[in-house]
Symmetry: C2
Subunit: 208 residues, 2 copies
DNA sequence: TGTACATCAGTGAACGCGCGTTCACTGATGTAC
DNA sequence: TGTACATCAGTGAACGCGCGTTCACTGATGTAC
């Protein structure tokens, strides 16, 4: 019979410490915010000494970056799946992508915070920069396909549209989710994003 | 001749420590982010012992709250002035309010960060809640006046419109100012907000 | 104008704390033969 | 299958650090008479 500790540890060797540290980081960030996270406590939560994380990460910063990286990866996948290459219609796929953005932020707040609120420098980490670009690319491709349905003279730059939608989505997450300033508002975050995007797309002439 | 120290201090009594601490907090937050701020360093920057701040604030948290409070006050004033009661036209006044939002965030990043990114609990401080409400109120009144120019059957709820614009503005600040993820974008934050708001208002039928 | 005194706004030393990180070490694992 | 050994992934003690906060204190200020 295995001698598993409460934290899933068997014995001297943890077996899956890297993963356990990522999970501990997520739960700490969710519970106490990005600055509530400490390497020491993550180690404690993984049932391991404070020195152990250094076998897997260069230090505190690198662990957060790993979490942000995985987060962006999942985020990009999720947006991609929601957009589903513009099916069944480009418009509905685009709206679904917005919903997926919000779902991700709500269901994986730890990742979202690590990605956008932890102070991690995205441009200072080329892996991070790439996967951020990938996530952003989903939005941009959606915007391109949307724009292509418009007559050329009324076609907006796709990058701009993608950025607008990204900004609106992020703003909605920050202000109307997770007990932020405007969370007492009478509209849910989902309603806010859905209606905001719809009005915006109507302004582009994509919805009558 | 006064014996002023570099920090503006004259002698045993500082004379204006409360103000000096607020300023130190702002410069620390601007330089090192919300968590880079420590009471000890703020005191040092004000040329005073680490115990001195406790004559003016209950502790670290209260100092940040004071900064956020002053920030929201200035913010509300600024939005109010920009809206200028809907003159010369409600539409142009509303757009000007958006620009004022961005200007404030850019020109007073320390305040903005203390208000929105420091983790300060707005609902946990009634003064803060009130002044936040006041700032939000400027946007909502603008939205009301805008909505009133539409025929009743196409009139959107003003609170919703205000929230949309707030979310877009906040998203633009977070993503496209201050070296954030999308700051390499080919559009400036101002362009992003201006164009985004214009498209959105067109979607409401407020711009042809 | 001068003096006594209360009050205010500082000091500086001390506290306990937890953190990030390093180090020499050691127990477990896997591999070559 | 067994053994020797290299490698890996942990330990635990120690470090220096800066922080937030408290405390008894003291210098400066302002006010009553």
């Amino acid at each position: 019979m295995d001698e598993k500790t409460a934290s899933g540890r068997r014995s001297y060797h943890h077996g899956n410490l890297r993963q356990a540290l990522v999970e501990a980081t997520l739960s700490l960030i969710e519970a106490k915010g990005p600055q509530g996270f400490t390497l020491a406590e993550a180690a404690r939560q993984a049932g391991v000494s404070a020195a152990a994380p250094y076998r897997h990460f260069r230090g505190r910063e690198e662990l957060i970056e790993e979490v942000a990286l995985r987060g962006f990866e999942m985020f990009a996948d999720r947006l991609e799946a929601a957009f589903n290459n513009g099916r069944p219609s480009v418009l509905s796929a685009f709206m679904a992508t917005g919903r997926a953005y919000l779902d991700f932020a709500r269901e994986s707040p730890g990742y979202y915070i690590a990605m956008f609120e932890s102070g991690v420098s995205i441009s200072g980490n080329s892996e991070l920069a790439m996967v951020t670009e990938r996530a952003m690319g989903v939005l941009r491709r959606g915007a391109e396909m949307l724009a292509a349905t418009l007559p050329p003279e009324r076609r907006p730059p796709a990058g701009m549209v993608a950025n607008h939608v990204w900004a609106l989505s992020h703003g909605v997450v920050e202000l109307f989710s997770r007990g932020a300033p405007g969370s007492r508002a009478p509209y849910s975050a989902d309603e806010m994003l859905e209606s905001g995007t719809a009005i915006y797309l109507r302004g582009l002439g994509l919805i009558p």
